[in-house]
């Protein structure tokens, strides 16, 4: 199977053809926003980090911002720094330029203030947009897709219908040779043994168990015992009895394949097939981690409904709650509630989701894109100082 995508210098393929303005630090976010304002095809990242992080957070911030620049949905990049930050614009520029795409950098303290930076930045971005308009979509094998999966605002329809249907689509993508990312480590607590035993190697399984223990201990150090406070009272009144049951409903969206690899947050997969990324369950931080890893499209199941979207990639929203679909038609792309009414099988809904993924990868706009939802948040482990 194929989709119509944009071929990049490094051999990857995008589903979008964007010019991305990245503030290397929160201080240059205002300039980055002003540079991209009103320019069709240009987006900026509302990044507030890049200075004041400690420990491994410095590497996480750099890796995430670089990952957005390298993502194949991005044609070329302008990095905007302030000048005295830890995460400097030239260093980020160099990292992204390894992908072979054009990357420019501007530093506010060197350009002589925000106005000059914005003026120059807009010239650069307009030039990049002119260049991006000259490349066209071409047939790309489906195996080149990296698809992020996510659930948020879940209700009982998520575990019963929308996640199993996305699981069917995941299995079909993997059969085509594509990569599917499963994540949300805190959701695994209680069922980590079931996930770890699906790992291809014992080492990958051990990494998953270690990641779960890290999250559990981190919550414990803040006085929250996730194992005891979950399933939450709302889950129990909704019919969820055990943590295993809750987590299985969540991980079903990754399908039934072996887990080929464990990825730290915002890291690029080196394997095809189903891969596991260590992310929070926080919707936007999770989505950001998967996009930084090179996902060109994401599938997001919801029960209660969510407007969430990414600045650089389409996010297909799927619900099996008919009332939610009717209430939030401008946010939700697909209604699979007929599974629960017995008039569609999970398999048929899964096949529809795969067709939608291909259509969206080939250019069909998602609801979140039409609304201009550009949610972005980087997960960090420590406090910012």
């Amino acid at each position: 199977m194929i989709f119509q995508g944009y071929r990049r210098e490094d051999g990857t393929a995008g589903t979008r053809n964007l010019v991305l303005v990245i503030p290397s630090v929160g201080c240059s976010q205002g300039a980055a926003q002003a540079i991209a304002r009103g320019l069709k095809g240009a987006v900026y990242l509302p990044n507030i980090l890049g200075c004041g992080q400690i420990g491994e957070d410095r590497a996480i911030v750099k890796r995430t911002l670089a990952g957005f620049g390298i993502n194949p949905n991005v044609f070329s990049v302008l990095v905007v720094g302030n000048g005295c930050e830890e995460n400097t614009a030239p260093a980020l520029q160099k990292e992204i330029a390894r992908s072979g795409k054009r990357v420019e950098a501007l530093v506010i303290q060197e350009e002589g203030g925000t106005r000059r930076t914005v003026l120059k930045g807009r010239q650069i971005v307009k030039e990049m947009l002119g260049q991006s308009a000259r490349i066209v979509r071409e047939p790309i094998p489906l195996k080149e897709l990296v698809v992020g999966t996510e659930c948020g605002g879940s209700d009982f329809t998520s575990g019963l219908a929308s996640n199993p249907a996305v699981g069917i689509a995941s299995d079909m993508l993997i059969a085509e040779g594509a990569t599917v990312i499963l994540s949300e480590t805190p959701e695994l607590i209680g069922a980590e043994h079931l996930v770890a035993q699906r790992a291809r190697t014992a080492e990958t399984g051990r990494k998953i168990l270690n990641a779960v223990a890290w999250w559990e201990n981190r919550a414990l150090s803040s006085g929250q015992d996730i194992r005891k406070s979950n399933p939450a009272p709302g889950n129990i009144s909704g019919g969820i009895t055990t943590l295993e049951e809750k987590s299985l409903g969540c991980i079903y969206k990754g399908g039934t394949g072996c887990i080929e690899e464990f990825l730290p947050y915002a890291s690029r997969p080196s394997q095809k097939g189903l891969v596991y990324m260590d992310t929070p369950a926080h919707d936007i931080e999770q989505l950001t981690g998967m996009m930084a890893a090179g996902s060109q499209v994401a599938v997001f199941t919801t029960g209660r409904g969510t407007p969430c979207g990414s600045p650089i990639g389409p996010v297909i929203k799927v619900t099996a709650n008919r009332d939610t679909y009717r209430m939030m038609r401008d946010n939700i792309d697909m209604d699979v509630s007929r599974i629960l009414r017995g008039s569609e099988t999970v398999r048929s809904a899964g096949e529809r989701i795969l067709r939608e993924i291909i259509a969206v990868a080939s250019g069909k706009m998602t609801k979140a894109e039409s609304l201009g939802q550009r949610d972005f948040a980087i997960f960090t482990m420590h406090v910012n100082i």
Partner: protein, 95 residues
């Protein structure tokens, strides 16, 4: 034309079904159990999203949903009975 589905079985190994609407004690419905349609008479009211047993389960039996163990019975549970926190626990939890 397919009738309205009142409960769903997610995997052929499952020994519980999940109600999709409020189900009344004494009502009879059909659910797929180990790949075959089975007639089940509900032994209690089942709220939507809640589970009922598709077979008689002895104390200590494994409860399967999504094709995986989700719990262990702490008392005998009859076919058609509500399966929830009053009669099953996490399979790894000590009793």
């Amino acid at each position: 034309m397919a009738g309205k589905r009142k409960a769903i079985v997610l995997h052929e190994k499952d020994n519980v079904a999940t109600a999709l609407e409020p189900l009344k004690e004494g009502s009879i419905l059909f659910a797929t159990f180990h790949g075959h349609p089975e007639r089940v008479r509900l032994a209690s009211n089942i709220p939507p999203g809640h589970k009922f047993a598709l077979e008689d389960l002895k104390q200590g039996a494994t409860v399967i949903k999504y094709g995986e163990p989700i719990g262990r019975t702490i008392s005998a549970v009859g076919r058609g009975e509500h399966v929830h926190i009053h009669n099953i626990v996490s399979p790894r939890r000590e009793t």
